[in-house]
């Protein structure tokens, strides 16, 4: 038990050292800081999604809805309401989170493949609204005309707009807060009862765990965090488009999570690194990058269902 506890902190330490120093070693390896930002944003989306998939055992295939709603909420606030980055993020989180919470009420009694299909459909509704509502959302071309605003703390200015590193550390700080909250939630009695639902729903019910309410809460919490990732994604690109709501994006979030390892807390982060790398490198070499990403994913599902972290853990455990 003590060794596994040690192993857990070791992983966390390694993860944070790598993330905090990313702007330095990434540029040395020929990358750019925005790439690290993308990894962190996708990792946050996938880790939030994994609270549901990996730790509650429920498969949503529509998490792009909440990701995209976060992005649109943030972008629309900056464009139409006021140029405040923090309030815009809050607007995105609330838009995605509250809609997710309401939608969750519709689905708590669905399970398995049915749950997945209904969540896909919800995502597609959001996709079509953003796609068709030209005047407000920019339609197919996406939402432009907003930019992240600097944050003033007293007279000290955090230059998010001009300084790529400042923005990266801003994203990383929010990532740290979000993942710390997630870890806290998953370690709480509530989080433990989610694991019980994942392992054996019927037994959990017999033990008096309010299964439906817990799944609903888990879904809602996951939606708020995913919307946060979406809001940061909009800020990262100063742009968002309907594809951020599409089921292909939901699929990407799922792929990141599964490739990284859905039973490990940091698994989705490993998946995000792999996914962003695959996408960036392979799409620069061939137009048929989907083939290779799909193939990698199929092989992981068939042969390594626990993903990258599963392979690493097996190695260190044996």
């Amino acid at each position: 038990m003590t060794t596994s506890l040690f192993a857990r902190y070791r992983t966390t330490a390694v993860v944070w050292i790598l993330l905090l120093t990313a702007p330095f070693w990434l540029t040395m390896l020929g990358g750019y800081t925005a790439l690290a930002g993308r990894v962190v944003v996708f990792a946050l989306a996938a880790m939030s999604f994994n609270m549901l998939l990996g730790f509650t055992g429920i498969m949503s295939f529509g998490h792009a809805a909440f990701f995209g709603l976060g992005a649109y909420g943030c972008g629309l606030f900056l464009k139409y309401v006021m140029a405040s980055t923090l309030l815009a993020i809050l607007a995105g989180v609330l838009l995605g989170g509250i809609l997710g919470t309401l939608f969750g009420l519709l689905l708590v009694r669905r399970r398995g493949v049915y749950f997945a299909m209904v969540t896909i459909a919800f995502g597609q509704v959001c996709f079509y609204v953003a796609y068709k509502w030209d005047d407000f959302t920019g339609g197919y071309d996406g939402l432009r005309g907003f930019a992240r605003a600097p944050i003033w703390l007293g007279s000290w200015k955090l230059d998010l707009a001009g300084n790529a590193n400042a923005f990266y550390y801003f994203v990383l700080a929010l990532f740290a807060i979000a993942t710390a909250l997630q870890a806290f939630i998953l370690r709480s009695p509530f989080g433990r009862s989610l694991l019980a639902i994942r392992e054996n729903e019927r037994r959990a019910r017999f033990l008096g765990i309010p299964v439906e309410r817990h799944i609903w809460l888990s879904f809602s919490i996951s939606c708020y965090f995913t919307a946060l990732a979406g809001a940061l994604y909009a800020l990262l690109n100063n742009f968002t488009d309907p594809l951020s709501l599409n089921y292909i994006m939901s699929g990407n979030i799922v792929m990141i999570t599964v490739m990284g390892g859905m039973r490990a807390f940091w698994g989705p982060l490993a998946g995000a690194v792999l996914f962003v790398m695959l996408q960036d490198y392979i799409s620069s070499m061939t137009v048929n990058w989907m083939f290779f990403v799909g193939l990698a994913f199929v092989l992981v599902v068939l042969f390594f269902p626990r993903g990258l972290m599963g392979i690493l853990q097996k190695r260190s455990g044996a």
């Binding site: 998939l53 299909m117 068709k132 799909g294 599902v301």
Partner: protein, 289 residues
């Protein structure tokens, strides 16, 4: 105005017929194997591309017969190679697997046949309108609906009267008992997968004749097919049939009055069904949940 409504109604029926063909194939596989085949739309595209390649040699009619069979064979090959390995696992893995498979198949189409849209030639006898007044109803559209009617009737007769069909229906209700009675369940699932892929291939040929081919042509049809299944009720093929027609016509009628909502309306129908009757119009309680 009457013409506009008629135009959209016939459109709706034709689109609905497509949804039905797609959704019935998906539904068969979901019912027996608990696999939501995300790559079903890509099977459809491949059926269309097979027809494109075959037409110069065997003509449109030959392609209409052969390419769904080829699609079915490809479906079984894929099932044997990949999908059967996840039957025993939690059913989310099948969703993941076929999602990745969809990526692979779509890019394979793009690689083999090119990214740009291709036309599928149809016989001249089918491309003329039935009367000058109803210029928007070509014989091809009538023909498509006729083929769908024949295919759907054939499917229901197959399930009702043949030995394999009866076993498939029995397996939908209780696969363990069917296995205990000595039926080769693995073979049954392959057979069932072949039938589902056949329907996708057939839909692909018909769609290609109407709107042409492109590598992601299946993407637009897969979501409405899911909705058709949810609205009709998982576990009931009659429900899927009803659901497909319902959303096809609803989308078309909405086009008349509020064009930009035509895609969203099918999702609204789904939401209403989920609110008022969560198991779907004809679905059985407890399927897949």
């Amino acid at each position: 105005m009457l013409q506009v409504v008629l135009f959209n109604l016939t459109n709706g029926l034709i689109v609905g017929a497509f949804y039905v063909l797609m959704a019935l194939g998906l539904s068969l596989i979901i019912n027996l194997s608990n696999v939501v085949n995300f790559a079903h739309g890509n099977f459809l595209a491949i059926g269309g591309y097979f027809a494109y390649t075959l037409t110069p040699y065997v003509g449109f009619w030959g392609a209409l017969v052969i390419s769904p069979i080829l699609t079915a064979l490809m479906g079984v090959a894929i099932e044997q190679l990949m999908i059967k390995h996840v039957y025993m696992r939690n059913h989310i893995y099948s969703l993941l697997l076929t999602f990745g498979l969809g990526f692979i198949l779509q890019d394979t189409c793009r690689y083999l046949w090119g990214p740009s849209p291709l036309p599928l030639g149809i016989p001249d006898s089918l491309s003329s309108p039935i009367t000058p007044d109803l210029f928007f109803i070509t014989w091809y559209r009538v023909f498509m609906v006729a083929v769908v009617v024949v295919a759907v009737s054939g499917l229901f007769a197959f399930l009702k009267y043949t030995r394999v069909g009866i076993r498939i229906r029995a397996g939908t209700l209780d696969l363990d008992t069917v296995a205990a009675l000595g039926v080769n369940v693995a073979g049954l699932r392959s057979m069932n997968f072949a039938v589902g892929s056949y329907l996708a291939g057939l839909a692909g040929v018909l769609a290609a004749g109407q709107v042409g081919l492109n590598p992601n042509m299946g993407d637009e049809l897969i979501m409405p097919s899911f909705i058709a299944i949810i609205v009709g009720g998982v576990g009931s093929l009659t429900g899927t049939l009803l659901g497909g027609l319902l959303i096809g016509v609803a989308a078309a009628v909405t086009t008349v009055f509020w064009p930009s909502a035509s895609e969203a309306v099918i999702y609204v129908i789904m939401a209403l069904v989920l609110l008022l009757r969560p198991r779907g119009l004809l679905g059985e309680e407890g399927m897949l949940s």
